[in-house]
């Protein structure tokens, strides 16, 4: 199965969610652990639609991040409709864009300005670390993959 996490650029909350699913991150990770995740803040511009492979979870599911910048719900609706039309039940989409705090969005822009890159990445990781427990709670309690208990992280 493929699990695709949607967020603004596909490499912030989506990467953290992927880290949680794959077991790389503990329930209370440090900002440094988040900042050093593969593909965290990997974007070079603000182009949406980029796909990031985030690894594999314990059940062998492939994890991805996809950037949808403010249109996650619209895209979720369209993609789910299309997957139903194609009768593809091997792909699950999870919107985690709501777990990108405004500061992360601002840092995503700052990250594209070369001198600010290290500062932006560290600040975004710190900001995400604060909301990470809520993100894990959402993934466990409310996510679209909740029907399949084997997919619950941790």
């Amino acid at each position: 199965m493929h699990i695709v996490f949607l967020d603004d650029l596909g490499c912030y909350a989506a990467v953290a969610a992927g880290g949680s699913f794959s077991g790389v991150l503990s329930p209370n990770p440090t900002p440094s652990e988040i900042a050093h995740l593969p593909n965290f803040a990997a974007h070079r511009d603000l182009q949406v639609g980029r796909f990031y492979h985030l690894g594999t979870d314990k059940q062998g599911n492939q994890l991805y991040g996809l950037g949808t910048r403010g249109n996650a719900q619209l895209f979720l609706t369209a993609a789910n409709d299309l997957l139903k039309i194609l009768q593809e039940d091997d792909i699950r989409l999870v919107d985690v864009s709501g777990f990108n705090p405004p500061l992360v969005r601002a840092m995503a822009i700052a990250k594209t300005l070369f001198p600010l890159e290290p500062f932006a990445v560290r600040t975004a990781a710190r900001s995400l670390a604060r909301v990470f427990p809520q993100l894990v709670h959402y993934l466990v309690m409310d996510s679209p993959v909740k029907n399949d208990l084997t997919l619950i992280p941790g």
Binding site: Y64, A78, I91
Partner: protein
Amino acid sequence: MIIIYSCYGGSHSSVTAAGIHLNLLPNTREAKNEELLSLPYYDAQVSRDHGRIRFMGWDENGHNVYIASKRNLGNNFARMVGAILDLTQEARDKVLIIDTMPYVNLWMVIGGFLSRRWGFKNVGRSIVLYGTRQSYFKFIQLVTLVKQGGFQDARRSDAHSLP
């Protein structure tokens, strides 16, 4: 194959193109207002419908024709859908997304905005119908190209959004 005509609200240009594709509208002359208004979903979708992919019918070659609204995602919509479809090679080859926005004129924008966003149906609908008729032959040309398969080869080398 699945052919999806997409535009901002899924109410006017995509519906018109899909209507021409399915022979619900004439392809040798300009459509009349009554013909346009008789199309399913024409000037009917509202904001909560955005994102939904609506079935319009089967064409003479057995292709399924759909419409979709993508707001201001532009080509990013096709890029994102393409990214999802890339996960399954079989699905990717089945879907063709056609962007009808390049053929939308100012009248359609103003009329659509008045009718769908602000609820001034009488005024907005008149303007959007006028605009649709202004661009009608462009939609015919687009659909003709789609039916001739002119986009099939291009689709393989680029994203799924055409033109």
